[in-house]
């Protein structure tokens, strides 16, 4: 029986935990299997949860979030027969699969679309807490945008410095309005529950929003340019499906692997011009063949376009 552990944000964080939950649900629907799931309550429980699951025979054990990395490094060797999968972090252990996403690539595509949809030449990005992971999104987005509009401007805001930053739609909305007042007409939200407020404000003001992690286009049909989907659900689904045959090592979920991408569905297809679609396709191909290199913020903690 596989197991899934959510990070502190909780199962319904409007972000990758929720996406992970979606993947597990899909697996249940398709296979009719059952799985165990756990929500963390405190930092100290991480190890407790991993060990208890491992001891009760869960296999594989999937966890979302980089914060598990440290603990997993310690726990994995104690249970060589159990397979673990960790999302967003590389843990080098023989029984651990590390799933990493190339958020910068997906965001790059979103940036291209934003640039082409923007009439003002100014777009916005709103992140939750100012942490490296979110900079990955931000930097990819900015690169994509600048590749189309080198003279354009990307406005960047972070919501806060406490965990409340992920659950403050009011502040998110205000930040979006502030960016809009400075000319932004497309705003990309990578801020969990805060993002709901961002997208709402953007829709209220008649501008375009870009969702994150799961496909959020349905939130405001016609007002969502796209969503930068990060297929955590696929990662979880794959891991669950693989069962104890889960392959250790680093699994890169990139554009090519459809780990990341921009969502197009009936809610936003009217906004996608053929040129836009062409540009996105071209960029995809370029990234795939290496002619376009999207810089990963994590490589050196800097972003070339800022």
């Amino acid at each position: 029986e596989p197991a899934l552990i959510y990070d502190l944000g909780g199962k319904f964080d409007k972000s990758f935990n929720e996406a992970a939950f979606g993947g597990a649900q899909r697996w249940v629907e398709e296979t009719g299997g059952t799985y165990k799931e756990l929500e963390m309550q405190s930092e100290a429980q991480r190890e407790q949860a991993l060990r208890r699951l491992a001891e009760t025979g869960a296999n594989p054990i999937v966890m979302t979030g980089f914060a598990f990395g440290d603990v997993l490094n310690k726990v994995a060797p104690d249970y060589p027969d159990v397979k673990f999968a960790i999302i967003d972090m590389v843990v080098e252990q023989p029984n651990v699969q590390s799933v990493v996403f190339t958020e910068e690539e997906g965001s790059y595509l979103a940036g291209i679309m934003a640039a082409m949809a923007s009439e003002s030449g100014t777009v916005g990005f709103i992140g939750g807490m100012d942490i490296p992971l979110i900079h990955k999104f931000e930097c990819g987005y900015a690169q994509g945008f600048k590749s189309v509009k080198p003279d354009g401007q990307v406005l960047i805001n972070y919501t806060g410095t406490t965990p409340a930053a992920w659950n403050d739609p009011v502040k998110g909305g205000e930040l979006a309005k502030a960016q809009i007042s400075q000319g932004a007409d497309v705003v990309y939200a990578a801020a969990g529950g805060t993002g709901i407020g961002v997208l709402q404000a953007v829709a209220d003001e008649g501008k375009l929003g870009i969702g994150v992690d799961s496909n959020q286009n349905h939130l405001h049909p016609g007002q969502m340019l796209t969503s930068m989907v990060k297929r955590v659900d696929n990662a979880v689904f794959d891991a669950f499906t693989a069962g104890d045959a889960l392959e250790p090592g680093v699994k890169v979920m990139d554009l090519a692997a459809e780990g990341v991408g921009v969502a197009v569905d009936e809610n936003n297809q009217d906004l996608i011009t053929p040129e836009m679609q062409a540009a996105v396709d071209e960029a995809k191909a370029g990234i795939a063949d290496g002619s376009i290199e999207v810089h990963d913020y994590m490589a050196d903690n800097t972003c070339p376009v800022e």
Binding site: F12, T161, Q200
Partner: protein
């Protein structure tokens, strides 16, 4: 660097951000002027936000949502009153408990009702308070300065913003010009004076706390059904505590409360507009811009505001016989 449009937008944003603070601050003002400290503003707002969003979603009416928000907040007020007035318990503990209670109950009930991890579904249309245009706003829009101030700044907010603003003079008037206000102030300064005048201390304090509940209810409803479109867990994000700080800052006076909350709103709006302040030689990182309102509050407090003397009987239950 600061063009007028941006300034207007900043103040506009400040107006929106201050509204929940102002409502909560006035709520605290009624409670604390009657001698009952209330650190449970946060919890009451949160509860109100949840019940307002839930009911607004279920009924499709923001107004019914508002009533539900008020009811939710009042329920917690009642508990606070029961604990700290009727049973003369510790007001701070009761406030702490209310914050915990709201934080847990909202999510618990939210999960039970919507299975969305404590969120409510997004509100649309009449389930939200929409911005209203003040009369003549369109006509005046072209007029320089006045147009800017009236049409862009003052007009176009939700009705709750105007209610909050009107509550300031109203509160002043109630406190200083009515029998209720006189007794309320007296009971916060020296409850024995009210008691020996033949007026019930308990009833007055319960009334004050009920008003506090109503105002927190409006504040919460504003957060969930006007500023945003639904409830998200912990969405008050510490605003109740900021309102408390503003209340002390304002020395428990309504006009000063307006000023204090506006200042907080403005500081936050400015921090929002300048996420990375580039001073030329150094760029202030976003973390510090986010903390700027708090840092400036401390500086202002240290530099310009003298000792704040709370209502003398504040925090103490009224006990005749020990």
């Amino acid at each position: 660097m600061v063009d007028s449009g941006r300034a207007v937008q900043g103040i506009d944003s400040a107006l929106r951000l201050m509204t929940p603070l102002l409502l909560a601050c006035l709520a605290g003002l009624y409670s604390e002027r009657s001698g009952v400290f209330d650190i449970g503003l946060e919890g009451k707002m949160l509860m109100a936000a949840f019940s307002a969003a839930t009911v607004a979603y279920l009924t499709g009416s923001a107004w019914i949502g508002l009533l539900a928000g008020i009811a939710g907040s009042m329920a917690l007020s009642l508990i606070h009153g029961l604990a700290s007035i009727t049973f003369r318990g510790n007001q701070l503990i009761s406030g702490v408990a209310i914050n915990f209670l709201a934080s847990g109950l909202t999510v618990l009930l939210g999960i039970k009702i919507f299975q969305l991890g404590g969120r409510t579904p997004s509100l649309e249309g009449a389930a939200r308070f929409q911005p209203i245009e003040l009369p003549l706003a369109e006509t005046l829009r072209g007029v320089p300065v006045i147009g800017d101030l009236y049409s862009n700044l003052l007009s176009g907010h939700s009705i709750l913003v105007y209610i909050a603003l009107l509550l300031v003079p109203l509160t002043w008037w109630v406190l200083n010009r009515t029998r209720f206000g006189l007794r309320l102030r007296a009971v916060g300064e020296n409850p024995a004076s009210v008691d020996t005048a033949g007026v019930s201390v308990t009833r007055l304090r319960h009334a004050a706390i009920a008003i506090c509940g109503v105002l927190c209810g409006i504040a919460g409803a504003y957060l969930a059904t006007s500023l945003s479109a639904g409830f998200v867990k912990e969405m008050t994000a510490g605003r109740g505590f900021i309102a408390l700080a503003a209340l002390i800052f304002a020395k428990w006076r309504p006009w000063s409360a307006l000023f204090a909350t506006f200042l907080f709103g403005l500081l936050e709006a400015i921090a929002n507009q300048y996420p990375n302040l580039d001073l030329g030689f150094i760029t202030i990182p976003s973390m510090f811009m986010n903390a700027l309102p708090y840092i400036l509050t401390v500086i202002i407090l240290a530099g310009f505001v003298g000792r704040a003397i709370p209502p003398r009987a504040g925090g103490e239950p009224y006990v005749k016989e020990r």
